[in-house]
Each structure stands twice: as C-alpha cells, then as structure tokens.
C-alpha cells in the first residue's frame, strides 16, 4: 500500500462529523500537525466496529502537534508536543 504522506509533511486533520465508532478525537479535528512517522497499514477500525473485516486497510500515521496549536490556553512550554495516530482518510495536505 502506497503512503500518501511522508514524515515531515504538514497535514490537517479533517473536521467532519461522522456517526459510529471513530478513533479521531474531537480535539485534533481541524488542527494542523506534522507527520512524525508512517506506522503501517491496518484494518479500518470504523468497519471493525460494526463486525466487518476492516478492509480495505488504511495507512496509519503518527502526527505531531505543537500543544499551542491544539489549545489556545496551553500554559506549558512552546516546545511541548502531542503525538497521536491518525488514519489516512482523516488527513489532508496543509
């Protein structure tokens, strides 16, 4: 499976409502981060959740965010980061 994004790419997490079980928490939706690494391809949890096989598999990435991008009132250091795994169909180039 070809990875659409490479480490270092800037990406935006899609800000969309979707019913059912999803693994993209609200707090990262619409936010911009950087691909930290390609994790690999995995069954789609949104389909596993309803008893399907999870096919087609989805490419999974770790995305790195500056905490200040996620929270307007973040009061730690500017270098503090948060990393989270995001499936490719929730990512757009930024």
């Amino acid at each position: 499976m070809e990875a659409r994004f490479q480490p270092g790419d800037r990406v935006r997490i899609l800000d969309r409502d979707q019913p059912g079980h999803v693994r993209t928490p609200i707090y990262v939706r619409g936010k911009t981060g950087v691909i930290e690494r390609i994790v690999g391809s995995f069954p789609n949890p949104e389909l596993l959740a309803v008893g399907h096989s999870g096919l087609p598999y989805k490419m999974l990435y770790r995305v790195n965010f500056a905490q200040s991008e996620l929270w307007d009132d973040y009061d730690g250091k500017p270098e503090d980061t948060l990393e989270i795994e995001i499936y490719e169909h929730w990512l757009a180039p930024a």
């Binding site: 409502d17 693994r23 993209t24 928490p25 609200i26 707090y27 994790v39 690999g40 995995f42 949890p45 999974l60 770790r62 905490q67 996620l70 929270w71 973040y74 009061d75 730690g76 250091k77 270098e79 503090d80 980061t81 948060l82 990393e83 989270i84 795994e85 995001i86 499936y87």
Partner: protein, 222 residues
C-alpha cells in the same frame, strides 16, 4: 458540534468503599451488575462458548503480565545498549526474547532524556501495553486523567508528585489506535555497575507510563 454535558467529576464509583478502606480483592459490585455478569457467564458456559477453566486460566495469564515484566525489559535496555536499540527500533524482536507477543498491536517505546519527558494516555478508552504491564491502573481509565493529560500534562504530572524542569520538553502520546506505548524512563544517577536485577527494582509501573520518574537508589534503600 454539540457540547458534552460537563461534570466536574464523572459519576464513577470511588475506588474506596464507604468506610474509607481500600477496595478488597473479594469486594462485590452492585447487585444488578453481579446478576448480569453471572447470567452472561452461566449462559456462555451452558452453550459451550467458554468454560470455568477458560476463565480461571485467562485470569492467571493476565496476572502473569504485570509491571515486573516491564521493569525487566527497561532494566535490560539500561544495561545493554544493543538490546535498547532493538527495543526502540524493532520492538517485536526485542520483546520475543521475553516471550512477549504484542500482535496485532505494536509496541512503541519512547525514551525519556535530559531534554524530553514522555507520558502516555488514551483519551478515547484505556489502550495500554497489557502484554507488558498487565491491567491498567484505575486512574488511567477515569475521566480525570483521560481529559486532562493531553491539555495540561504538567499540572497532571504535578499531581503525581512529578516536577518537570522548566527547560524540559513534555511529549504526550495519545494511544488511540494500533500502537501501544512504553516509556523508557531515565536511568537514575548512582547506578553505575548495577546488574539488571538491581536496576529492575527502580522501575515502577508509573515510570513506564511516564507519570513519574524511576526511583532513585536512595528511595529503595529502606
């Protein structure tokens, strides 16, 4: 996007009984939950889906997975640079030497250094490196930790008595999908020449979640 009704606390029962004593191993749940669990379990056994032995064995297997196992792995990584490199880069292979199979998940090891402090949370449920550390602690599964660890990690660390120097970067890992995370704590000073068994005594469960540091030699003296 609708706002979730926001409570200051969730309504989960406190993990202490009303008399203030810690919950004991044989403590029972509310009657309704006990009834449902017993009914489900007995139906599964009657239908041959599982047996009482399966349950007993499953509990025993779970109990064999506990932070002492994680501590051995960390101690080896401290003592053996080659193993550490393997653990960081090909964790599957490194874990096999301890008889651990993470499949279908993968273990992602993140290293604490002079410059960086890592901590792990699962905001959506309670994903945890069970094959290495066992069942997650009760606080890890509660709303307070899950809500705040991503937004105010330094304040949460303080609640664990962990002071992070101003100059250090804090990296929070939200364990939300197919990786599971193990923090490799910093090896404490004053442990030069210690063997793996001695080193493992310094490695606490909390230090492998990243809410505290490893113990110091002075802290385990008594």
């Amino acid at each position: 996007m609708s706002e979730t009704h926001e409570h200051a606390h969730d309504h989960e029962h406190p993990p202490h009984a009303h008399d203030g004593k810690p919950i004991q191993e044989d403590a029972l749940p509310p009657l309704e939950a006990h009834v449902l669990e017993t009914a489900v379990r007995e139906l599964l056994i009657e239908k041959g889906v599982i047996s009482s032995d399966d349950i007993r064995r499953s509990i025993e297997e779970r109990e064999s997975r506990n932070p002492a196992l994680g501590a051995k792995i960390v101690a080896r990584a401290w003592a053996d640079p080659e193993f550490k490199s393997k653990l960081m880069n090909e964790s599957d292979e490194a874990l096999l030497t301890f008889g651990i199979n993470m499949s279908p998940m993968e273990l992602c090891v993140v290293e604490n250094t002079q410059e960086v402090h890592n901590m792990v949370v699962c905001t959506l449920c309670s994903c945890y490196p069970r094959p290495v550390l066992g069942i997650p602690p009760a606080w890890y599964k509660r709303r307070d930790y899950r809500s705040r660890a991503v937004r105010e990690p330094r304040a949460v660390l303080q609640e664990f008595g962990t002071q992070i120097p101003e100059a250090k970067q804090v990296r929070v890992h939200d364990s939300n999908a197919d990786l599971r995370y193990l923090v490799l704590p910093q090896r404490p000073d004053g442990t030069e020449g210690w063997d793996e068994e001695q080193l493992a005594k310094l490695v606490t469960r909390d230090s492998m979640i990243g809410v505290s540091d490893a113990l110091t030699p002075a802290e385990i003296e008594d």
